[in-house]
Symmetry: C2
Subunit: 343 residues, 2 copies
Amino acid sequence: MKLNQRKQKVLEAVVEDHIATAEPVSSRTIARKYKLGVSPATIRNEMADLEEAGLIEQPHTSAGRIPSQKGYRYYVDRLMRKGHLTDREKSTITSIFAQQARELVDIVQRTIKIVSQYTDYLVFLSGPQLENAALHKVRFISLAPGKAMLVIVSENGWVENKLIDLPVAVSQEELEQVERVFNSYFRGLTFPQITRAILKSVYDELSRQRLLIDLALDIIESVLKQESEDALYLGGTRNILKQPEYRDIQQVRKLLDLIEEQSILRTILAETQNIGITVRIGRENKFDQVQNCSVVTATYTMGGNTVGAFGLLGPVRMNYARAIALVEFITQTLSNALTGSGF
Amino acid sequence: MKLNQRKQKVLEAVVEDHIATAEPVSSRTIARKYKLGVSPATIRNEMADLEEAGLIEQPHTSAGRIPSQKGYRYYVDRLMRKGHLTDREKSTITSIFAQQARELVDIVQRTIKIVSQYTDYLVFLSGPQLENAALHKVRFISLAPGKAMLVIVSENGWVENKLIDLPVAVSQEELEQVERVFNSYFRGLTFPQITRAILKSVYDELSRQRLLIDLALDIIESVLKQESEDALYLGGTRNILKQPEYRDIQQVRKLLDLIEEQSILRTILAETQNIGITVRIGRENKFDQVQNCSVVTATYTMGGNTVGAFGLLGPVRMNYARAIALVEFITQTLSNALTGSGF
DNA sequence: GATTAGCACTCTTACTCATCGAGTGCTAAA
DNA sequence: TTTAGCACTCGATGAGTAAGAGTGCTAATC
């Protein structure tokens, strides 16, 4: 779709004014606030064209215009100027990560808390999942026949633990052998990287104990199967209610559904591309429950491996420039913090 | 406060009808629905007395009466009949606990989910904290100088783990020694029970290594200090919005504050008495944010030791009989499930 | 003396109607 | 091509009214 310079200016004005005020934007407002050098009547003509193109719409005859979802998309793709955080904001955020963290969870929760203060959107975050991080060492603790606890320590000193099922009643001794295999051969690799192929390469040295390889494979599978179901954190629920879109209790209801039934948010994060920022506007979202919302997400990494994703969810009338700047800065800073030494 | 038979009947009617309808209750309604055998006019006289006693109040002249918080308290203490769950409800709940659980957290989350279906109140739960359960064995994994992970296995096979700080750079060997001390001398005890006195009693056998005792004490202290900060689970947020009290966005706002800033709920659970059911009505609650709510809580146990608490939070106009029956049944069933074998 | 019918009074709620004002679309002039 | 002017639409606001629910009081009744 090709728009002339002035139409773009008008669309930009409609979007930005509506984002700021949550009110329909009139031709007069644009003429007054956005100094295009033309009269309201001219702007009205442009607006009529923009409406015909499906980029803006009129709630009712005697109201101004609001952007359509298509209009927001056009704005995000072509008109929006890059948002910037103030130095103050940036330094507050980085200082969070500078603090000593006891556990991975702490750093995540602090992040959520801080971001909630800087934005009126729902803040949510998955991971970090250590099964995608480089192994430093593992430790097995047998609990009962067929059950053990696996403690994973990453190369930067972060710790996580998982309960795993063992296929057979494995002896303590065998478990210790597997532990040694992991710690000596697999150091520096991630769980997904420890494939059958790699196992093969150590096969010679372990040839006397084929069973060990099977056991190791079972364990890896068991870890990967766990899907990190409990790894969703969120915050900012109270702030998002400030948005005028949530004056309607029905909307609040939908939002709480989303928060309580976390699977949708989890899926949204899981589907986030590895590279760059993803912006989904309204009906671009797969799920019904978020089709009147927009979502900005990005992944974060740990030593180069993607270990989780971070997102902001707000009304379609969202400050995209700012949201994107925030998501970008947070994921970068978080990646740095996680990649630097844990302890 | 002494009320004659009929006044009690009237108060009971006002409370129960208001709980059911959320509307002010008129003298005529009581005469019609609650068959006291007297006319509305008589009931009006009784109501005037009850109002004078501060047990009921009138929103405005031409409305019926609603119970005051004092009225609810009177009702709960002296008038309320014990609530009962249906067999169907009971069996659904017990069946949840019959299922195999992978982790403690699973059982807790299932509980929350089920209860949310049976009630329109906020469901919240703390623990279970294994440091109050009888030890089966512990295991230390040293992570870095001054840091270790402690895995606690309870006598019924439940597992939990904590990161602990060690005061000095303790050698792997020393840690293993402490582990042996815990596993041989402290089996069957809870962390709070392992006091300096008990440590003394094994002093002779350890006399050559005074240092061990200090180390053990440090570890115990470190575990107890952790206060189980992350052990709050909640659900039913979406259901509670069905309550007409939450048609007002301001109320919803307060509720979300409560949910997001979990410390208040945590404190409420922590302050719950060990024995029986605690009911706090409106301003009986310490915290401002819950003074227009009522809270019903009780603790649950594991092998006789209190390991957590469970609660329901709703508007002051809460169905106390049902809430109490539910809290009672859940905490009992949960206690049984936790006390029975974990695996 | 306790209870109740009857009635005047109060207060909320819902509804209607008129007015106001914001903003548009169209036409004709610049 | 732009703009001034104007008629028109439609939501928001507020006043006025009627209906209805419920009370409190008084006087009659049991």
